[in-house]
Symmetry: C2
């Protein structure tokens, strides 16, 4: 809990939060190029966004830019990574260790951004009881026994017909934030955080754009 307390507690608007990881990626590239300072004008120009938006987004953090030179790169990276919660490891459960779920278990990227999957739940007898990438898979019926562990983040990668039911059980078992990879708009209590990541929405857009050009 000591560590968790270090994560910032300000409630930041979602669009700003969603832009910040891109700023972070940009500033890390600037560091690789040997730059000591970046200005919001530079960030904005290179990323194709409005400079006042960059300044405003960064103002949610405690970092302060200097007139004419901008932000010092190294402290800005530190501050952004801390602010976004990427330096503290949050633990999560995975629900549905099928093709996409297994893929996420094997993606080391998540750990670099502060998320560690510590257990997975599924119903498939061929994988329940085994370990994948160091992560044990349990039967979903046993999930409620894990409630006391206090893990709050759940990744939802079950088949669509199970999404709503499993989401219900996740919340019952103490999950407070659901990262929903299914195309189903799950309904949960209002105080549960839901983030939808659809892998199929971008496909629909790409197919339409490509084929409407032909």
């Amino acid at each position: 809990m000591e560590e968790e307390n270090r994560k910032k507690r300000i409630l930041v608007p979602e669009p700003a939060l969603r832009r910040m990881p891109s700023y972070l990626a940009y500033i890390k590239l600037a560091r690789k190029d040997g730059m000591k300072y970046v200005s919001s004008t530079h960030i904005a120009r290179d990323m194709g966004v409005d400079p006042t938006q960059v300044t405003k987004d960064l103002s949610y953090t405690s970092i302060v830019g200097k007139t004419r030179v901008g932000y010092e790169v190294e402290p800005l990276i530190d501050e952004l990574e801390n602010f976004l919660g990427f330096r503290i490891m949050d633990e999560a459960y995975l629900f549905g260790a099928g093709s996409l779920g297994m893929a996420l278990l094997h993606d080391h990227g998540l750990k670099q951004f502060g998320l560690k999957v510590v257990a997975a739940f599924d119903v498939n007898p061929e994988i329940v009881g085994k370990n994948f990438g160091g992560v044990p898979v349990y039967h979903v019926d046993d999930f409620l026994q894990f409630k006391e562990k206090g893990i709050q983040i759940g990744i939802l990668t079950v088949p669509v017909e199970k999404a709503q039911e499993v989401a219900h059980w996740m919340v019952k078992g103490g999950i407070r934030a659901i990262w929903n990879f299914t195309p189903v708009r799950i309904k949960v209590e209002e105080d549960v955080i839901v983030q939808n990541t659809s892998l199929y929405a971008p496909l629909a857009v790409m197919f339409n754009r490509l084929h409407s050009k032909e």
Copy 2:
């Protein structure tokens, strides 16, 4: 090309396109529940969106609802899947077969939604020349030789510091639509379609929401 021509050519607004795969998932669930008709009011209520928006979004397709009963489920599924391009297989190249890239190679879900990765490109000598999930990995330097195959979709899962450079080569080799999984805002010619899927933006939002509640 015969098959590709069947994909609809109307240019549909992106927000509508992004919502449609969720409608499709909802309607498929309704079919599993034995329903023969769904109304936009039902879809809207269960998904927590506005009914007029559902009607408007669906009006881009050729499907017509009937007064009082709504849309017939089976033809609506057919029409949506065809309209969204999920029933025709588009081929794609993967750029960067690291942890996330490999994960996507093993996700069978993409094929169900009309995308088949037919080759991957990387620089890692340990994987170049091998097959993963039936997909051959080539050295990225050889990519331009593939131009004549006419594949238009590229999935970008390289490290951030390579994202812009590889995006440039993708376009040079004939890629017209880039599915960008890196947090970098890549800059490409205006007529190239870019869809950004960030796995880290949702994390930033979940961490902030969870920890601002504590």
